[in-house]
Symmetry: C2
Subunit: 454 residues, 2 copies
Amino acid sequence: MTIITPKPISGFPEWLPEEKILELRLLDIIRSNFERYGFSPIETSAVERTEVLTAKGGNDREIYAINRLVAVDDEEGRNLALHFDLTVPLARYVAQNFSKIAFPFRRYQIQKVWRGERPQSGRYREFYQCDIDVIGDGEVSLFTDAEIPSVIYSIFRQMEIGPFVIRINNRKILQGYLRHLGIPDERHSETLKLIDKMEKIGIQRVFAELANTGIQEDIGKKLIDFVDQQASNDETLKKLQSINTNETFRQGIDELATVVKHIRALGVPEDYFQIFIGIARGLDYYTGTIYETVLKNHPGIGSICSGGRYDDLASYFIERRLPGVGISIGLTRLFSRLLQAKILSVGSATPAPVLIALLETDRITEYLSITTILREAGVNTEMFFEDKKLGNQLKYADKKGIPLVVIAGSEEFSQNSVKIKNLKTGQEKLVPKKDIVSGIELELNDLRSKNLYT
Amino acid sequence: MTIITPKPISGFPEWLPEEKILELRLLDIIRSNFERYGFSPIETSAVERTEVLTAKGGNDREIYAINRLVAVDDEEGRNLALHFDLTVPLARYVAQNFSKIAFPFRRYQIQKVWRGERPQSGRYREFYQCDIDVIGDGEVSLFTDAEIPSVIYSIFRQMEIGPFVIRINNRKILQGYLRHLGIPDERHSETLKLIDKMEKIGIQRVFAELANTGIQEDIGKKLIDFVDQQASNDETLKKLQSINTNETFRQGIDELATVVKHIRALGVPEDYFQIFIGIARGLDYYTGTIYETVLKNHPGIGSICSGGRYDDLASYFIERRLPGVGISIGLTRLFSRLLQAKILSVGSATPAPVLIALLETDRITEYLSITTILREAGVNTEMFFEDKKLGNQLKYADKKGIPLVVIAGSEEFSQNSVKIKNLKTGQEKLVPKKDIVSGIELELNDLRSKNLYT
């Protein structure tokens, strides 16, 4: 038989169990916070009709179509493709289920998406997105714009990934200011894309490229000075409010001031959010508040969570104005960067902190009963079933990162006891069999308090 | 603009939020039990190289290949396809990461898979599989075969889906008996496939079809009598042990007896598992213990969880014998059948049991502070942000299945209190603002104890 030697497919990341456990912990934190804030789960199928995915245009090159490997006559099966984000599927889902949904529709969605990126770019072709959106039927209160940073703050604080800041801006401020500078509306999009690049390519290059697009030097300088300001939130607001421009600009500032006020009321500390005029979120899609999130000590990672307010979610699928506010965490990318930057490090390769060793095969029912007692008490427990020497069993526990091994032979059983061996400290304790649950919990609490096990 | 009116794609199921919440509850039960038994999570990419998926052959017609919608020169991106199960990906993963894994490798995997089934068949083209396997390097103890039913028992008991029974058999018993009847080995596979169909098509048709394959009438009758026996586990074992046939048969019975003994030691009640000689699990893949699970009151749903022991997991990908035992729950199919049969019924459309009503917009910061207090106490809470009359807010809560609404206006605030309105009972309670958390928890516990909220 010919062996097919498996190798990774670039762009399709996979993790070892100890990494997957850590990724699951992050996914659990995200989900529980989404739920804490009253967002409802939905899951759309990985597959959409191609016409749905291409309705808006612009992403066609990234789309993976699916086709039966063996051609079959299947009318409905043709023209299907994998979704490349969760926003188009949300729009389609909301249009499709419009009458069954209560609005405002607060939904979360945590799913894989697929993009035909060039693998050389270091981007993933399959990755998790974790999205929340609040969709209104006709309108969505501006208070919602303040709640989004509060969810995000709550998530990243719980992840313990170091100091971060949620940057907040409002597209109307940028749009109003560009008009104020006399830059015509049809050139706003390309101008804002340059502004977005400032942190990456530097002020000088943005200045040069603005000139290339035909923007006069003094206008370019004014624009860069405007977006490059960084001060306390109150100072920035005050400065913005002093600029006399136009109605769009003023509306943007009023909205931003309201959002900032209510972010504070939701208890987000001042250190964790910042008015940042320099974020533009290239997409024309956004029309009001916009967000980005960066790790203070690792700015190179870029934004780890972005989003904003839009006027109309599903205009391609339903004749009804459905404005919304949303944000997305690209979890796979974030997770891999957190590992690379050693902001997170992997622990155990199993969810079980306890291994029951098998010393005397003819006493298997006694070992099984201990195993069952622990499991029924809610302790994740593995029982070793193979006929191996204790030394090999301890090595196995060590390789998997299991900190506690329950050891019992004739001697321990004759005393109605078991031995708990702590592989992190090397200590052993004899515990009455009836106290096995509390004995294990004591050891685990001790390990956790010393940060030797999570 | 042309509107694309969205419609479902047959074979790709989607759920409303209230259904998705219920599906997530089942997925959580499965995952937590897998972890309770010390299985480690892995997740393989949805995409495999086509040569990996077709290595074994037999499933080619079901495979969905993926191709870029817009043709690009991408050597590595060609010949990729979506996985159709989690067993082939596990085999590939184990071969690829062989040196990094501790054996026995106990892994769980909960993921979507895709199959190009004919949608007319009522089968899903996208569905969740929830798999556990224990893979050994060279061998896996027979004790493992007893542990698998214990996990399954624990899962379905917690799901509260009524009485069920895990059927257990051993392929060696069937193989030995077929040999004993003089049926040559090369015809065992087709014969066992017929045996597997007995519950579906009835004894008479199996009898006729056995004859069609050239099996003599008296032999066919003996075989059917043999597989059709149902008695207590001890009676069946005793009867089997009294049959004098061949070594394979005897080995199967010894294994089965050992497995039954240890299932009991793991605390699975006798009502929940049954030796059932009539299950054969068509696949040649299985070589020892085999499992199926049926709902006693809904036999028409068929097996909700099946698996068994195999001699070699990954022979196509690595030159190393890797035997294993595993089982798979087809969760999407199970979930939809449980809904159809009204064994489960949906509840709330949101994970939040509490809505904070917005009565006086200028007191928004007070409402926000109540919301934050509840969230920080771990209560999933939604705050209503839109400018709507209280009646509309209560209707919204009712439509989403939110049982508790916190109502506070000038009157309540002047007394430093809030009103908790219970929409299930219609009752209202005035509670001091400082006691909001315990007030909500009291109401929730009361609702839960009366089964009015889950």
